[in-house]
Amino acid sequence: MNTIILIFIIFLGGAILTFLAGMLKGILKEVLFLASVFVPVVLFFTNISIGQTFSFQAAGFAFQWGITPLSYVFALIVAGLGLMAAIYAVSAMRNKDNVSFFYFNYILTIMSMLGILFSRDLISFFIFWEIMTWSSYLMVVYQGKDVQTVGIKYFIFSAVGAYAMLMAIVVIYSLTGSMMIDSLIQSFPGFSFNMQLLIPILLLIGFGVKSALMPLHVWAPGAYSHAPMAYSSVFSGALSKMGIYGMVIVMVSLISHIPGGHWFREVIAWLGGITAVMGTLWAIKQDDAKKLLAYSSIGQLGYIIVGVGIGTPLAMMSGLFLAVMHALFKGTLFMVVGAIERQTGTSNLTEVTGLIRKMPWTFLAALFAIIALAGIPPLGGFISKWMLYESLIGSNHYLLVIVIFFSSTAAFLYCYKFLFGFFLGQEETEWSHVKEAPAMMVVPMLILAVSTFVLGVFPGLILNPINEAMQTLGYANTQGHLWELSIIFNEWGNQIAMQPIVYTIIGIFLFFLTFLTIKGYKETRYVTTKDISSSGEVPKEHENLTFSMNFMQPFFRAVEPLMRRQIDKYYTGFANGMEALFDFTRRIYTGNGQTYAMYVVIFVVLLLLFKNIIFG
């Protein structure tokens, strides 16, 4: 049996079996769940080689599944993060209602994401896309909060995106007579200009929704924060990357062939830039860690879109590398929030404080992830940021680089807010009972966190598959002049050699760690955080001295004009207007038989009057 189909059968069967096992007591469902994620992932890593395909016919369409170098990069994200989050989920979701439903959707999501990456034809791409959409939708509403607003909003946006994509697909089918992605790419340059413009726009709407591109992002904060955190890490880390995956194909293989296509890509890149800024600003404003991470994800996806949109080799590399990194660190951060929420019962940054001594390992994971997120060397986030800036500067995007830089500098604010809010600050008695999260939750986080470090020192590990992917997209081989195992270059040949830098940093750090920190730590003794210099006062046990309300208020006083308008409000207004309009159309059906009879007469009379126009 073909391994590709085997993977999907195991996923599907595993999902159903896990769901059914949910009716039984015991750990059968957990075991089945882990197995049905683990086995296909292992099969994927061991038995799937690039170029292997599997084809069949159904409903008059030819289907072809197989992995390409590009989708391999994304499949790495999906498989890796999916597996880690699955391990995490088993522990995180224990004792929740309807766990098997969660598992069911989780497996389906992983399956559909791999399916998207495996699809070489548009129909199965779309089918898996929709499965991904509704399984993720079910996860968004899983906890039953704000389902009629957040859930519906997510699904409407997804549906608009998916239907735009569907329209593009049928148009492509009518133009080429084939559903194969390859044949689309081949015949695209021959399309008329209108079609060349229409198809990418429609596809980009579809992909833009999933990758939370402005102005299609408004579903994201709610959806990311309402899903269970074990799922959100996949949601934000991997699922949003499906949009990026599609965008890469559209940008490189389609839009580049339009006359004047680089302007198109410029627009997309600018949209990405604005997304990055606004996502970051709103992230700073959030008090709920989930919302903060959700907006931060929007911002980070904005960077990726900028990289993909600019599309020079370095930019594309940075976009794809950041896609991988974002999966690692944002996956970790959502897991961290999940762990904290599980241990404390809330994820509000203004409530939870001072967990660092209670949950040190979680803090360590969060610290790594935040450093990677902020793009500070030597972790992997820096590599992607560096490549992004260099590529923007190298390709003369004067203003865009400033926009991006503003966004990533402002990102420090929410990075700090996240760490400070949860882990630092006063240790309140309210949280003195909090324990470290179970090992099954902590270990996946730490693995992901440490891998950001490894990729920071040896970016070549992941740049190698990215390079191969880019070669199939038509880029030149960049190994050697843009990157090596642990050195990255910009287009002018300036380099960052990660190894000496990292060794120096580690050296300095160890020196001060030994002679300052550990020595000092041993010589001194611990006092509670109530023992602070607060004008000679002795704070009472229950007095909360933590500074967490209006955390970045001065900053917001400065950027207030930027944040006065919310796209969300326009959408809400539009939706309300539509509902009012539809309420009016509803009244066409008056419920009065005479009116209905009159409609019939009017219908006949109109047809008879205008018969020559209508039937002429």
């Binding site: 500067i393 830089f405 380099q495 000496p500 300095i508 920190t517 933590t546 970045m552 900053f555 400065a558």
Partner: protein, 303 residues
């Protein structure tokens, strides 16, 4: 193998030089400020005494491990930046990591320490620390923008991101970049006012309001570490300005003159200025400095 030891030795010497120069400059600034205020002022070596005293003070308590790592993070930033910035042009001894990192790297390693310090400050649980940190970070967002604009303008104009290359370009052309890219220089200098956190941008550690802000729970050795880190960092920043805009320095005297000349700008501006609130500071940086940044970008785009 031998070269690595030379490198390490060179690095240590660089750091020591940076430490001494930085502290001296700070002492001089106290002296000059005092003279401007018609005081006698402390001796220029006063900061060394302070440092020595701080180092000799004991510390009895801690609020957690992070509080003690903060200064270490700060040191990483300072030392890394001073190692990446070319101190003396063409000097083998002090080449350190000049070729391993470029401007973007420098920008990012420069925020590593403040963020680590912020974490340390956060763990003390002192609300003043956190307030100071938020102010500092907000202000950083303010001044980074014109600063980056200036750097981007330079990088675009001369098609390199390496500081060494920029020095070489200045030496080849025989013109300092402050003359050949004047707007970038102005923007960078205005940004520098915020970077050094002298008045009017010293709200971060406003002593009477915030009880010195982020460092309010740090005393003794930690304050000493932070102080030396600050001085090294200041030296690194000054050297960077000299390298970028004043053509670098080939010997130590030239370096000192140029760096001190640059140093006088934020210092003298600070002595005659009151204090901005955070949002005022941000708006200040997004006013004229931003305008000059745009001019610099325009200039770079045209030429």
């Amino acid at each position: 193998m031998e070269s690595i030891w030379y490198k390490i030795l060179g690095a240590i010497i660089t750091v020591i030089v940076a430490f001494i120069v930085g502290l001296t400059y700070m002492g001089l600034s106290r002296k000059i400020t005092a003279r401007i205020q018609n005081r006698k002022g402390p001796p220029f070596y006063q900061n060394f005494i302070d440092a020595l005293k701080l180092a000799s003070k004991t510390s009895a308590i801690h609020h957690g491990f992070m509080q003690h790592i903060g200064p270490a993070f700060m040191m990483i930033t300072s030392i890394m930046s001073v190692l990446v910035v070319p101190v003396l042009t063409g000097d083998q001894w002090f080449s350190n990591l000049n070729f391993k990192g470029d401007l973007i790297f420098l920008l990012y390693i420069m925020v590593f320490g403040p963020l680590g310090m912020a974490l340390g400050a956060g763990q003390t649980g002192n609300p003043n620390s956190a307030i100071g940190v938020t102010r500092g970070l907000s202000q950083m967002v303010g001044f980074e923008i014109p600063w980056v604009m200036a750097l981007v303008a330079l990088m675009m104009q001369y098609k390199t991101a390496s500081i060494v290359d920029l020095i070489n370009i200045q030496q080849e052309q025989g013109v300092w970049l402050m003359f050949s890219s004047p707007f970038a220089f102005i923007a960078a200098v205005l940004a520098m006012l915020g970077m050094f956190r002298y008045s009017p941008f010293d709200i971060v550690g406003a002593p009477t309001e915030l009880a010195s802000g982020p460092v309010s729970e740090n005393g003794g050795k930690y304050l000493f570490t932070l102080m030396s880190s600050n001085s090294i960092f200041a030296f690194a920043k000054l050297t960077l300005y000299v390298d970028l805009f004043l053509g670098g320095a080939s010997n130590i005297v030239e370096l000192l003159i140029k760096t001190f000349a640059i140093y006088l700008i934020p210092m003298l501006y600070g002595t005659v200025s009151p204090r901005y609130r955070t949002e005022q500071a941000i708006k200040y940086f997004w006013g004229w400095p931003l305008f000059f940044g745009f001019l610099a970008l325009l200039y770079a785009a045209i030429f």
